[in-house]
């Protein structure tokens, strides 16, 4: 199942920090960066559908207990959530590192393109999990009052290291750098059309 996605040029520019007008030399760098990202990355994704309960202060997602009012608010009236992890792999991290020495200006564009890519890829992965329709925003460890330290528990729960090679450093940085973990909304429609066969709320 190969997930295809597009990288938006404006998004790349936004991540690369281009504010306002610029000459087309930068456009060329962006074009080259997008092309290099697409040919270098090895995108992978895993997810689990977890049953969710909350008392307003704490969330229990599939047995993982997290203290967070913000996450609790999101899960109010929900019975399940998608916990996902996506990554572009280590190869692009290495390329960005190397270019930062030899072609620093290009390295910035490459980094921007890679960031745009992981976001676009994750959007597509979400779509595939929940079927057609609007995907929700994502809520990750480190957002709001959901402490970033839960990142380790999330990686463990998903078995992400073994399955797709994503680890957490002692300072809670995900490695590879272009990786995302997030809780995503499960929009409830009719059970008959729903792709989530194992949802606990299924009637």
């Amino acid at each position: 199942m190969k997930t295809t996605f597009n990288i938006d040029v404006d998004e790349v520019k936004r991540y690369a920090g281009f504010k306002g007008a610029h000459d087309n030399k930068l456009d060329l760098l962006v074009e080259r960066a997008i092309s290099e990202v697409l040919s270098t990355i090895k995108p992978r994704a895993i997810h689990k559908i977890l049953s969710v309960t909350t008392d307003g202060e704490t969330v229990n997602a599939g047995g993982l207990v997290m203290k967070s009012r913000d996450l609790s608010a999101l899960f109010k009236d929900k019975q399940s959530t998608v916990l996902l992890c996506t990554t572009l792999g280590y190869e692009i991290d290495k390329s960005i590192s190397e270019y930062s020495l030899t072609e620093p200006a290009y390295a910035i564009c490459l980094d921007g393109a890679a960031t745009a890519a992981i976001e676009a890829y994750t959007d597509e992965v979400q779509k595939e999990i929940i079927g057609d329709g609007e995907i929700s925003g994502r809520f990750s460890a480190g957002y709001g009052d959901l402490d970033i330290s839960y990142q380790s528990d999330i990686i463990k729960l998903l078995n992400a290291t073994k399955l797709i090679g994503v680890s957490v450093s002692s300072s809670y940085l995900l490695t590879p750098m272009k990786s995302v973990t997030a809780f995503a909304d499960v929009p409830c429609k009719s059970c008959a059309d729903c792709k989530l066969k194992y949802c606990i709320a299924r009637k």
Binding site: K42, I46, H47, K48, I49, G62, G63, L64, V65, G89, Y90, E91, D93, K94, S97, E98, L101, T102, D153, K156, L157, T161, K162, L163, I164, G165, S167, V168, S169, S170, S171, L173, T175, P176, Y198
Partner: protein, 765 residues
């Protein structure tokens, strides 16, 4: 008791985690069940032993201080005990060591040393508790695997190593099966293989690559396919067996299962093994070095890039002193792009902490450059630091025929599984003859044998000496290469040394490369950024190299025959001995002897200026000095006292045997009329002091070519000063700088032979 895992089929167990799913609280990990529910763990072990497993893995996959903190030792101790009780004597117990959970630099922030320490405490606990084997599994990063293997080897127990691969054929961090096999095999594991990540069919191509890269037993422990988002695996026991039948037929000899497998899978595997026979496999990959992602074999002429070396390179020297590592890395990338296969890393400079610097450079270069490296140093600590941190299989440059050096460096070569370069020189210097160099080569090979380093892993450097001092130098080297090739020994040469002091260096270097390649040279240390050198490499690889080295170099010159009308200046400049002597005799008829000496000295000075300007080269300088010597001899016949211009003591310092530079200085100084007392090479400070006292010399010249011996120069100067001997000291050598000369308290820095004359004039007159 040494267990033999070779030449037979061995059944290991299946997954532990799969059987424990849901039996421990979310957020906790299965290792804690060793304490809270030992019975459950024991029952899983028993089920595997009953199913026929001959090796069972302990429930300690995630037991390390980073993950399980202070509980680690207890969890391991309990885990091993439970397994041993369950195994009785029917199965061996392997301490299961999983990845640390954090990535090592540069991917993550964990240092190699910290990772090693964590693995060390883990394996020590396992060995103490009585494990029979250490198995390191499910690791995706080669650097992490190296730290684990090095730690595991300290226990003396057999070590198994398996990495986790993706269906793309590499690990998540890009490590290839070949790189892993090369590194693990050379580090001395007893068996290696792949586990986890994909199902058995996807591991078949990876198994094949491992089988062709090692002679050691290959282990495969596949998942029962891929899990879906609910954790159900898609490969049935029958399909599993089907794949394993194929794996065993290809030569895999240690089999088991990983995630998703249960005792049922192992029982079926057991039945399969009873019907199958062990299939031997043979390594087809030839001797190689590697990084995590790139393997370099030596089938065609291999290029080692020489630019990361401060000797004679002002910018590199400055960058190293300034800790400008970006400059160094850029040089690495440039050489890679120019076509280098391996990069030489040398950061030996006086007053530089070589071990620290080499560690930093090796780390940073391999972060961005995937080439295997050659650790170039005579400093034992630097060699160890470089080898330890390099993620791959390296070459050590170098050892030589001196026993002390061999005993110093070869243990490190063995420990880190590297290849090694042996220089055909020893404490007596460099033999002039082919046979002399071959004898030293044999001595080196024999010593390597004593340290269990295979002849295939030794590369002999028969040494390149400049044709500026002797035109025959090239042929001796070429012939030695030929002789070594005939014996099946690999060779390496620092090509550009051939043209030191000559004009047209590029042309000479390229021609030398072609002729040594034609003689069978295996590796060439060159500057790959020079187009003519890479052209020569391409020719050599395509079999288009010339076989004869033409040592005739285009030095503009005349001969005695057409020296009509030449005055003494011309004769000295053009190196015309006969005409020079004749002209001197004529001069002595018309001038007083002292005046003639002045004339000759002025002529030599003019030559020195031309040499400095680069209009004249070293061979010509030497030839001019030789004419001047003969001319001075003529003057001495008439005026014997005129010969005494003062005594100069010169020596190459202790530990250093390079004396070409010193000999040139001696020749030039004595030709100017100074009395030179040459103490030779490898001279300790006491002997220098004695010579100064005996001769009453007012000028001392010290030479050192190596950074490791520059420190002895410092010691010698200190010693002379402490004894309050009244003399001036001048120092020189390829790694010596004016700053270093100042630092160690020398009076003068002599850039070259010419400079030494100027200094002698100033000090002695």
């Amino acid at each position: 008791m040494k267990i033999d895992f070779n030449d037979r089929l061995i059944l290991s167990d299946g997954a532990m985690g799969t059987s424990l799913d849901g039996k421990y609280p979310v957020g906790s990990s299965p290792e804690f069940l060793n304490i809270t529910n030992g019975k459950l763990i024991a029952s899983v072990h028993k089920a595997y032993v009953d199913a026929g497993a001959q090796i069972i893995y302990t429930n300690t996959f995630g037991a390390n201080v980073l993950k399980t903190g202070a509980m680690t030792e207890e969890l391991i101790e309990r885990g091993v005990k439970i397994a041993k009780e369950a195994a009785q004597d029917k199965a061996l117990v392997a301490l299961d060591v999983g990845p640390l959970g954090e990535m090592i630099e540069p991917i993550g922030s964990l240092t190699f040393d910290k990772a090693y320490d964590v693995f060390l405490t883990t394996v020590q606990a396992g060995a103490k508790a009585g494990a029979d084997i250490i198995v390191i599994e499910t690791v995706a990063d080669l650097q992490e695997m190296r730290a684990a293997i090095l730690a595991a080897k300290t226990t003396g127990l057999p070590v198994f190593a398996t990495m986790t691969f993706t269906s793309g054929g590499t690990t998540f961090t890009g490590c290839t099966p070949e790189s892993f096999a090369l590194v693990a095999d050379s580090l001395g594991v007893d068996a290696l293989g792949a586990n986890c990540s994909v199902g058995p069919f996807d591991l078949i191509p990876i198994a094949e690559r491992l089988l062709s890269a090692t002679d050691k037993p290959v282990i495969i422990k596949a998942n029962a396919g891929m899990p879906d988002s609910n954790g159900s695996y898609d490969i049935t026991p029958d399909q599993f067996i089907d794949a394993y039948g194929k794996l065993i037929d290809k030569g895999v000899s240690i089999v088991g299962g990983c995630c998703g497998t249960t005792p049922a899978y192992i029982a079926k595997l057991n039945k399969l093994i009873e019907t199958k026979s062990y299939v031997p496999h043979k390594r087809t990959l030839s001797t190689a070095v590697c990084s995590a992602t790139k393997v370099v074999t030596f089938e065609k002429l291999t290029v080692i890039g020489e630019r990361i070396n401060p000797t004679g390179k002002k910018l590199m020297k400055a960058a190293l002193y300034a800790h400008d590592y970006d400059y160094v890395i850029k040089q690495a990338i440039e050489q890679r792009m120019a076509g280098a296969d391996v990069l030489d890393i040398n950061c030996g400079l006086p007053e530089l902490n070589e071990p620290e610097v080499i560690e930093t450079i090796v780390k940073r270069v391999s972060d961005v450059c995937a080439l295997p490296l050659q650790i170039d140093s005579n400093n034992k600590d630097a060699v160890e630091k470089g080898l330890r941190i390099f993620c791959g299989r390296a070459i050590v440059n170098s050892v030589n025929g001196e026993r002390k050096v061999l005993d110093n460096i070869l243990p490190l070569v063995k420990k880190y599984g590297a290849m090694v370069v042996g220089l055909t020189l020893d404490e007596n210097g460099i033999p002039d003859t082919v046979q002399g160099r071959l004898t030293i080569a044999e001595r080196i090979l024999k010593a390597c044998e004593e340290y269990e380093i295979s002849r295939n892993d030794v590369i002999i450097d028969p040494l390149t000496l400049t044709i500026a001092t002797d035109a025959d130098n090239a042929q001796v080297t070429i012939d030695t290469v030929k002789a070594l090739k005939a014996k099946g020994i690999k060779t390496v040469l620092g090509i550009s040394n051939i043209s030191f002091g000559m004009p047209d260096r590029e042309k000479i270097n390229a021609e030398f490369l072609r002729s040594t390649a034609a003689a069978g040279l295996t590796l060439a240390i060159i500057n790959p950024n020079v187009v003519s050198m890479m052209e020569a490499v391409v020719d050599a690889r395509g079999g288009k190299a010339a076989g004869v080295f033409n040592a005739k170099v285009n030095i503009k010159g005349v001969s005695d025959e057409n020296a009509e009308g030449f005055d003494i200046n011309d004769c000295i400049r053009e190196g015309l001995k006969k005409s020079g002597v004749d002209k001197t005799k004529e001069l002595l008829k018309e001038h007083k002897p002292l005046e003639v000496i002045e004339i000759l000295t002025a002529a030599l000075d003019k030559v020195g200026d031309l040499y400095e300007k680069g209009e004249l080269y070293l061979p010509q300088l030497i030839m001019s000095a030789e004419v001047a010597k003969l001319a001075f001899d003529e003057v001495r016949k008439v005026l014997p006292e005129s010969s005494d211009k003062g005594v100069i003591v010169i020596a190459t310092v202790k530990g250093d045997i390079h004396d070409i530079g010193k000999n040139i200085v001696k020749a030039v100084l004595s030709n100017y009329g100074y009395q030179v007392v040459d103490l030779g090479k490898n001279v300790d400070e006491a002997k220098v002091a004695d010579a100064l006292k005996e001769t009453g010399a007012k000028l001392l010249g010290l030479s050192a070519l190596m950074t490791t011996t520059a420190v002895n120069m410092k010691e010698t100067v200190k010693h002379i000063r402490e004894l309050s001997i009244d003399c001036k000291i001048m120092v020189g050598g390829a790694v010596i700088t004016p700053e270093f000369a100042r630092e160690i308290g020398a009076d003068y820095y002599a850039k070259d032979a010419n400079a030494s004359v100027k200094i002698a004039r100033e000090v002695l007159g």
